[in-house]
């Protein structure tokens, strides 16, 4: 296992994992744009991830797309490959690699808390654990989702004349926020920016019930007074949002934990809801996988490497380029 200019490369298997540049053979952990890049020749991923790639990339998803179900093992070159749920978004997987009697787990992006829209993270003990580090600082500790959803619902009560415009990432966050609202008993129609439509329909087709949804694109803004409207973060500040009656701008993201960061983005109602592991989840995972060696890929590597080293683990930062932490 090594890194090259495309990212993580498994030599005895002849494949990359989440390559940042076009490669011959790629294993993709999940459908987010910074992990599932276009135009690789052969792509291996879960069926759901491949579907998402087809929806987002069309023919650029790859020349040959090969599905692998969670828990099944496939030999590639001299390596046994198995995909295990990562709990990040629908279809997301950790990649378990066995070769010559040792086991490496590549986490991709992951979280540990329950998510009604995807399979939960499974702990696989290993010799080397390659972890993400998006929120790897002890200041990032996401509160319970229910508290954050509660904040949104309380605001709707208090400002019934204002459209509540919530910025959400289109894959995963959007559907999770809807599902959490439904669990909290919110049964009104939820309005969606047009860009979120395809993936919500896909989730529903995969059996994730989202309740009544309306597409906000062509509608008169007035009827959205007192309603929840979900939109990609980029749409919040653009002309689209002007049709809303006096919108209250919310954002569902792990970054909302830091006030200054939320204020910089002119968010009125920060909702700390993240699809990435927070500090406690990261350190819990490092403990549970019992790996002697930890490699830290993208995010705030320094703090996690320091933490691991303090506990006598061999740890190093890979500093892979190309992963975006703003998108969360």
């Amino acid at each position: 296992m090594r890194t090259d200019e495309s990212g993580l490369y498994c030599e005895p298997g002849g494949f990359h994992i989440d390559p940042q540049r076009v490669v011959e053979r790629a294993i993709v952990t999940h459908g987010h744009g910074d992990h599932a890049r276009p135009n690789n020749r052969k792509v291996l991923a879960t069926e759901a991830t491949l579907d998402i790639m087809r929806l987002r990339l069309g023919v650029a998803a790859g020349d040959t797309l090969q599905p692998l179900a969670y828990g099944e093992t496939l030999r590639i070159g001299e390596v046994d490959v198995c995909l295990v749920p990562a709990g990040h978004v629908l279809g997301s997987a950790q990649v378990v690699l066995e070769y010559g009697g040792s086991r490496i787990v590549v986490s991709g992006d992951y979280k540990r808390r329950r998510d009604p829209t995807c399979a939960g993270f499974e702990v696989v003990t290993c010799d080397v654990f390659i972890t993400e580090a998006t929120f790897a600082l002890p200041v990032f500790r996401h509160p319970p989702d229910t508290e954050e959803i509660d904040k949104l619902l309380a605001s709707l009560d208090l400002f019934p004349e204002r459209a509540h415009l919530v910025g959400v990432y289109g894959l995963g966050k959007c559907q999770r926020v809807i599902a959490l609202l439904r669990e909290a008993g919110y049964d009104r129609p939820i309005y969606l920016h047009g860009a979120l439509q395809t993936l919500c329909e896909f989730y529903e087709a995969q059996g994730v019930a989202l309740g009544p949804l309306r597409y906000a694109t062509a509608r008169d803004g007035k009827e959205m007074a007192g309603e929840i409207v979900l939109a990609p973060p980029s749409a919040l500040k653009e002309v689209w949002s002007r049709r809303m009656p006096n919108p209250r701008t919310a954002m569902a993201s792990g970054w909302m934990r830091v006030r200054q960061r939320a204020r910089q983005r002119l968010v009125e109602l920060p909702l700390i809801i993240s699809d990435h592991a927070d500090w406690d989840e990261l350190t819990q995972t490092l403990t549970e996988v019992e790996a002697g060696e930890i490699w830290v890929t993208h995010g705030r590597e320094e703090a996690l490497v320091h933490w691991a080293a303090q506990r006598g683990l061999k740890a190093r930062a890979l500093s892979l380029a190309g992963f975006e932490d703003e998108a969360e």
Binding site: L158, K237, R265, R300
Partner: protein
């Protein structure tokens, strides 16, 4: 504490006044006594602790965390209180103490024991509560709520007249149980006749364009550019209140100690210039918003009050008397006051409306804002009563400046670039001279927004830097020298008057034009308007 912490957190992010009012009203209606009273007092500044310095909080966190992780976190977050609140270990799902318990405990706890008490609380709190607690004990709410706004929310929540609330407020103490009992119909209105409290200020309406008044029915006075205050004395108790209801006595011991009159007067707080006249507003600004003031500050910026009116003398409430009779009483009162700290506002005697208009045009000194016109027979009534008092501000100054940066607004304006930074020329370069975010119509805002989006050359977060090509005519009340601004000048109340799509940027004003306005305003009365 949970409700109070959430309130503070919501307020920090809420840009609009109405939104803030709604949040505070909701809190006051939902939370029981005495907690809501303490919460309200914290917002009005009537409750502050300085039990813990930020350094003590930092020490507490450092005991619990790894120094390297603390360093990395602080680096990232940038704010000490917030870093401490966020990284304090533990999930914080214990039962946090209620606000009342926190206040009682802090009042009983000696300095040496504070750290231990805080540690115990922090362990039981979630991150938002920890943040609110740290703000509370280190004495700095800074959530964008004035005392006036908090009291407005109170009066709206319980549907009472704000002036009445204001009048009672200063006579009562936190957590204001009697006040809540009264507004909820559980008790009689508290009796405050003998307390050193302010009365609701009487305010003026702006004179409408083209409106003329009969000079024989009105008294004319200069409108001074200071801070409107009431001085109150009741027995040994003395106070200075600003129009927002803030007790600013601590910042003005020079004035308060000289105030021997048993009663209430109304006037303009000003600073004396070296030549005996009135110093520009920015001198007074040095004295404002202070908890204490040094002898040096007082010597450098000596404060005094130019008196306009009298409300109470001894036991006698004079507010119902006509203005000319109150004026008589005021003159008698001033005769017994320290002339260094108190003088009386001069009554102007214009013979005709034309003469009044001419006087207003002469009100060019930086210390004057224009004219006041008060009906001779007016009683002193709180609020802005129609037809009694008028203010006639002088015409604003104007300048042509070049748009440099635009920032997205808040709330309704969050999709518009509505906050503009503009500059003037100096040696062929533009220097930022001010910021404006009002003055334009909705249609003009849409035009400006479109222009900004089409002429962006760089972005930083919500800010766009634009091509230096659009000229704006800005209006402002005055301009003064400022060391804090790179340009060396600062304007008061700058607003966008017109968009000058027709004017080339290179023909916009030079920085010298602003210095010229300062110089002329300071030295002579005959400044031609630009």
């Amino acid at each position: 504490m949970r409700a109070f912490a959430r309130l503070l957190d919501d307020l920090v992010f809420m840009p609009s006044r109405n939104g803030k009012l709604a949040l505070i009203e909701d809190y006051l209606k939902r939370v029981p006594d005495p907690h809501r009273g303490w919460g309200l007092s914290a917002l009005t500044g009537d409750l502050s602790f300085h039990a813990a310095k930020p350094a003590m909080i930092r020490t507490l966190v450092e005991e619990r965390t790894d120094p390297e992780l603390f360093r990395l976190s602080y680096d990232y977050v940038g704010d000490m209180a917030e870093t401490c609140a966020l990284m304090w270990p533990g999930d914080g799902h214990g039962e946090a103490p209620r606000l009342g318990e926190i206040v009682d405990t802090l009042n009983r706890t000696g300095r040496s024991e504070v750290a231990g008490v805080l540690r115990g609380w922090l362990d039981r709190m979630n991150a938002t509560e920890r943040w609110a607690l740290i703000k509370l004990v280190t004495g700095g709410m800074r959530v964008g709520v004035s005392a006036r706004l908090a009291k407005t929310a109170f009066s709206r929540a319980f549907d009472r007249d704000l002036d009445t609330v204001e009048e009672l407020w200063h006579a009562l103490d936190p957590p204001f149980a009697e006040l809540f009992a009264w507004v909820e119909g559980r008790a009689e209105k508290p009796d405050v006749a003998n307390a050193p409290v302010m009365r609701p200020f009487m305010l003026a309406h702006p004179l409408e364009e083209g409106e003329e008044l009969d000079p024989s029915e009105f008294l004319a006075e200069w409108k001074w550019d200071g801070v409107r205050v009431q001085l109150v004395r009741r027995g040994a108790e003395r106070r200075v209140y600003s129009r927002t209801g803030d007790d600013i006595s601590a910042a003005f011991p020079d004035v308060i100690e000289a105030y021997d009159f048993d009663g209430i007067v109304d006037g303009e707080l000003l600073v004396r210039a070296a030549d005996g006249g009135v110093a520009p507003f920015n001198h007074l600004q040095q004295r404002l918003n202070r908890k204490t003031v040094s002898a040096k500050m007082m010597a450098r910026y000596p404060a005094f009050v130019r008196l306009y009116d009298i409300l109470v003398a001894g036991e006698e409430d004079l507010r119902e008397l006509p203005l000319i009779e109150r004026r008589q009483r005021l003159e008698e009162a001033v005769a017994g006051m320290d002339p260094i700290r108190f003088d009386i506002s001069e009554i102007l005697t214009p013979a005709s409306w034309e003469e009044i208009a001419e006087m207003r045009q002469r009100a060019r000194e930086a210390e004057l804002e224009g004219l006041m016109l008060k009906r001779r027979d007016s009683a002193y009534q709180g609020g802005r009563v129609k037809g009694l008092w008028f203010k006639w501000k002088r015409d604003p100054l104007t300048a042509d400046v070049v748009l440099m940066y635009a920032q997205r607004g808040h709330g309704k304006r969050s999709s518009f670039y509505s906050d503009y930074t503009f500059g003037a020329w100096r040696d062929g370069e533009l220097v930022p001279v001010g910021k404006a975010y009002f003055g334009f119509t909705d249609a003009e805002l849409a035009e400006l927004d479109r222009w900004v989006r089409g002429h962006t050359i760089q972005r930083f977060g919500p800010v766009r830097e634009v091509e230096k090509a659009l000229v704006l005519e800005v209006a402002f009340d005055s301009v003064h020298r400022s060391k804090r601004h790179k340009s060396g000048v600062a304007m008061r109340f700058p607003r966008i008057k017109r968009i000058r799509f027709d004017k080339p940027a290179k023909e916009a004003d030079h920085l010298e034009a602003f210095f010229k306005m300062i110089g002329e305003a300071g030295e002579s009365e005959s400044v031609a308007e630009k």
